[in-house]
């Protein structure tokens, strides 16, 4: 059963077709990788899922509910969380606050006027946030400014901010870009561990090790269209993929 169902999505930017009749079904509980050369439309597609962009035509259905024309915060409240290509965190706040904030959003909804209680009196939020920080290996830095973290740690923090919400669908836009080999491996480990919780994930990635280690299904995009889809082994051997994506070289 598809938790995310994308049908015939098109998006033009001033005459340039960024997405062309994209169809995509993401199975619940699976890790679905989207790969493709730069400018293939991967990030544009992701933006259509979270309400940053509105497709010109087509439909995006999540859990039986259309995601088109509703606000980003409503999409998140429906259970979609996103990790960005450049980490989007609260640089002025401490790590623990960075994680508490999404936890409050999950618990209290999109708006709640709680002016009077002390933030640290909400023990269950604090405990949950600390547990997730522990999970991603940032527990000992929890009182540091998020802005002073290394790039790899920022990505991990952003992941923690998504995980604390227990999303139904997690969108990861190049979660290992710019990371060292060791950091990349650590991230793969982490993603595999959270895979066990059954969170559906869509991963955009250039690092093929990451893709082939994690993904159950791979969609290949080129020039705004999905040109191939299948299990990793099938994709590896697909000549059209090698043509479009690798210019004929072997994987």
């Amino acid at each position: 059963m598809a938790i995310l169902d994308v049908q015939g999505v098109c998006k033009d930017f001033g005459g340039l077709r960024a997405l062309n009749q994209v169809n995509l079904q993401v199975r619940e509980g699976s890790v679905h990788a989207i790969i493709g050369p730069n400018g293939a439309g991967k990030s544009t597609l992701l933006n259509c899922f979270v309400g940053r962009l509105k497709p010109d035509t087509g439909s995006v259905t999540f859990n039986g509910k259309s995601l088109l024309g509703i606000n980003p915060h409503e999409i998140n409240q429906a259970g979609v969380a996103r990790v960005f290509q450049t980490p989007e965190i609260f640089a002025d706040l401490s790590l623990i606050e960075n994680v508490k904030i999404p936890a409050f959003a999950k618990r209290d909804g999109a708006f709640r006027l709680d002016l009077w209680s002390r933030t640290d009196s909400h023990a269950e939020v604090r405990d949950h946030a600390e547990a997730v920080l522990e999970d991603v290996g940032l527990a000992d830095k929890r009182h540091m400014h998020a802005g002073s973290l290394s790039r790899g740690d920022k990505r991990r923090l952003e992941l923690a901010m998504c995980l604390v919400q227990d999303p139904k669908l997690l969108l990861l836009d190049e979660p290992t870009a710019g990371m060292s080999r060791a950091d990349t491996n650590a991230t793969i480990d982490l993603l595999q561990r959270i895979g066990e919780r059954g969170i559906t994930k869509i991963v955009i990635e250039h690092d093929m090790t990451v893709v082939f280690t994690l993904a159950h299904t791979i969609s290949v995009m080129a020039q705004g269209a999905v040109i191939a889809e299948g299990e990793p082994e099938a994709i590896k051997g697909n000549p059209r993929v090698q043509e479009a994506y690798l210019g004929g070289a072997h994987l």
Binding site: P72, H73, R82, I101, H143
Partner: protein, 388 residues
């Protein structure tokens, strides 16, 4: 707005490297609050050695302290820079004076009406202005404040009494007080006159309440949410927050603070004029907040106090006073010093204000509070060096 503020904050907190809202324990907050309350109530005592202990001035410290605390709830927490906050100050004053004219000279209903009126006004202006961010927001608030100011002088004269300002009159109904005796009545707190020092104590208690409420807000999930909006509004949307009602709530609360300050102005001196709404008055509260330390609890109060002190004491300096100050110097030097200092005092105190303000923004973006933080960090470092 955020990238540089980050730098500021990081520099400001370099010593502790811990954000303010996070670790401060409930206990240390309450100790600070108690110290603050005592300091405020005893202002007439400890400020008299520097010539600032008289009622007129300590009243101003308290009133503008409230104004600045409220402004900081918007600007310090959410980063939205309003250039129209004086409008709410003015609305609070008008509402309070009307309460004195129509209902009673008791200050409690006057303050309630002042706060409510400015709250409603802030809700309207905020609803429209907060649809935009950045400088567009600033200009929208400025536009609304200027409209209010201009209208107060023209078509709204029946409510504002135009250039003369709204004043008490003998024939005012004052339905709750009954007919006035001879002469204009004074403001009261359930029968006790509230001018002079009693007036100050009304303001001081309100300042303490205002500080306490601001402290609770800062430490609450709401306050943390506001700081997160300042830090990265984009992330907030993808984190499931509807940010508009949060910023609107902050705007309204901050407008109500301004309304309270405005009504207290009417409490200590029952008249209201449109000049309170001019954009320069909005600019002044920005200066106070920055000078003291944006985003801190105490900073805005300090900033308000410093500016009002300069305004009242500094501007009274003249050449004779200066001559006495530099009396210890040889006459040539004395005259030289008087000539050099002259443009900065008396009529020229605004020049000093401008210079000090520029220096603060350039070198000490965290304001006086950052300065205090740096100094105390240095002291504790040298102390720990000595002990090791």
């Amino acid at each position: 707005m955020s990238a540089a503020t980050v730098d500021t904050l990081r520099r400001g907190n370099a010593a502790a490297s811990v954000p303010a809202g996070d670790t401060a324990s409930s206990r240390s907050d309450h100790i600070k609050f108690a110290v603050f309350a005592i300091a405020v109530l005893t202002m007439p005592v400890w400020l008299s050695p520097i010539g600032a202990g008289y009622p007129d001035l300590v009243q101003k410290f308290a009133i503008f302290g409230i104004f600045a605390i409220g402004f900081n709830i918007l600007f310090g927490l959410t980063g939205y820079l309003s250039f129209g906050h004086a409008a709410f100050l003015g609305v609070g004053s008008y509402a309070a004076v009307w309460s004195f004219k129509l209902l009673t000279m008791n200050v409690v209903p006057a303050m309630i009406f002042g706060v409510l009126a400015s709250g409603v006004f802030a809700l309207l202006i905020g609803y429209v202005s907060l649809r935009r961010t950045g400088i567009y927001f600033s200009i929208l608030t400025l536009a609304f404040a200027q409209m209010s100011y201009n209208l107060a002088y023209s078509v709204l004269t029946p409510i504002t009494n135009g250039e003369t300002g709204l004043q008490l009159a003998l024939h005012d109904p004052r339905v709750l007080d009954g007919p006035a005796e001879a002469g204009l009545p004074t403001t009261t707190l359930f029968g006790m006159e509230t001018i002079g020092y009693p007036g100050f104590y009304v303001c001081a208690v309100m300042l303490i309440v205002a500080y306490y409420v601001a402290m609770r807000i800062t430490r609450s999930p709401f306050g943390m949410t506001l700081r997160a909006i300042k830090s990265n509004q984009n992330r907030m949307n993808y984190t499931g927050f509807n940010t508009r009602p949060y910023t609107l709530a902050a705007f309204v609360i901050s407008g109500m603070y301004a309304g309270l300050a405005g009504s207290l102005m009417a409490v200590v001196d029952p008249l209201a004029g449109a000049e309170r709404m001019q954009w320069t008055a909005s600019g002044e509260v920005v200066l106070m907040t920055i000078l003291g330390g944006t985003g801190t609890l105490l900073g805005p109060v300090l900033g308000a106090g410093i500016i009002k002190y300069f305004e009242n004491i500094f501007s009274a300096f003249n050449d004779q006073v200066l001559g006495r100050i530099f009396d210890f110097l040889p006459e040539v030097l004395q005259n030289l010093m008087v000539t050099l200092v002259h443009p900065f005092v008396g009529e020229g105190w605004h020049l000093t204000l401008g210079v000090v303000f520029m220096l603060i923004v350039i070198f000490l973006p965290g304001g006086v509070m950052e300065g205090i933080g740096r100094i105390s960090a240095r002291i504790s470092r040298s102390r720990s060096n000595r002990s090791s």
